[in-house]
Symmetry: C2
Subunit: 203 residues, 2 copies
DNA sequence: GTTTGATTTGACCAAAAGGTCAAACTCACG
DNA sequence: CGTGAGTTTGACCTTTTGGTCAAATCAAAC
């Protein structure tokens, strides 16, 4: 039994700096494109010093992804079967859009991982993520059955919320290139609210 | 003046093999994550042989992107100001969805490039792409003004079509992990058609 | 069938990459 | 203020990477 020692102040500070730097680098280069030197430099540490805190590049990436997965699924977990159907779904969409605005690097970290085939989180996707989506999709299906929202394919509804919201974080440069000066997040919330109101309002 | 020689049969075959292999590798690893050895192996050539056809890794990537950009924008170019508004937009969405199904590697190549900040195509995005979107957005705005479709933000409408359709190519592994056996493209077309009909039908 | 240009390759380089290690340095606490 | 644990670093190692080059091989037009 190895005794888990309490982390020192320096440890806390440096591990946090490393994770923040790694988020920056991994999210903009992907796993293979990122280098330990780059992360170390961004964290203000030498490479050997960084490797004193994490045993390998893999380990840093794994720590980031693990810590993030929970946060990432929180908005969907909060979808309340007892709430008002349309408002619940709109709130879910709003929370996701908020996350795209506030945590774009985190969004791009996932985007990189998944576009590249999710080699490191595939198992979690088909277990935890699938289980959560299955659960919430059946809630939405029940709302449709009860005539409380229009009938839609619940899984594709959820995919649409993912794709629309994350698009603003993941494809930020493209969106900004097209919009010019206009802030993407100025009109996005209203657009999406309109979209889902029209899609889901019971006929 | 260097005379442009006609490519030999071998040149045609090998350049095509290289571009295909490079598409495979770049789209699943990003630019920095891809290696010349990997591309050469996938093309069935030795590394020096590959570098006989393209001067550098950069050059292969550039050739791929350039060749692809046109194809990628074709569906939007085809949006006809003289056509029926709702059907034109639905057709545009269908063409994009078709491309996500038929050309997922191409979609992921762009996704990687853009998620990683589009360092190599930023200029094209804010010139050619912006110009095209500006043009088509004003067509859509005119349709709204004429009351032929419901009022929506035309730019965000276009973004929504991009994100929804490309999601099925770019996040394929995630979609499949959640859906299990179900084919994503079975229900997607109907879902999206419903979505845009409800969003755009004139009030 | 020979010759000339096109193609292919093995051997090689320099730089960059992930990672190790022993020695040096710092810090907190008794 | 000394000491042991916690921290940092320069030097180093191996592998991988993008790229070069001269020599060898091949194809096809004459």
């Amino acid at each position: 039994m190895t005794e888990a020692r309490a982390p020192t102040r320096i440890q806390q500070k440096n591990r946090a700096a490393i994770l923040d730097a790694a988020l920056e680098v991994f999210s903009s280069q992907g796993f293979r494109g990122a280098t330990v030197d780059e992360i170390a430099a961004a964290a203000g540490l030498s490479k050997p010093n960084l490797l004193y805190y994490f045993p390998s590049k893999e380990a840093i990436h794994a720590a980031l992804l693990e810590q993030l997965l929970d946060t990432w699924l929180d908005p969907l977990r909060a979808l309340d079967p007892a709430g008002d159907p349309l408002e619940e779904i709109l709130d879910y969409m709003r929370r996701k859009l908020q996350m795209a605005r506030d945590l774009p690097r985190e969004s791009r970290l996932f985007a990189n991982e998944i576009v590249q085939g999710a080699p490191r989180i595939h198992a979690v996707l088909s277990s935890d993520l699938k289980a959560l989506v299955d659960e919430k999709a059946s809630v939405i299906a029940a709302w449709s059955d009860a005539g409380r929202i229009a009938r839609v394919h619940p899984y594709h509804l959820i995919f649409s919320i993912w794709s629309l919201t994350q698009h603003y974080a993941d494809f930020d440069v493209q969106v900004r290139a097209v919009l010019g000066d206009e802030d993407p997040f100025a009109a996005a919330p209203e657009f999406m609210e309109t979209l889902y109101r029209r899609l889901l309002s019971p006929a």
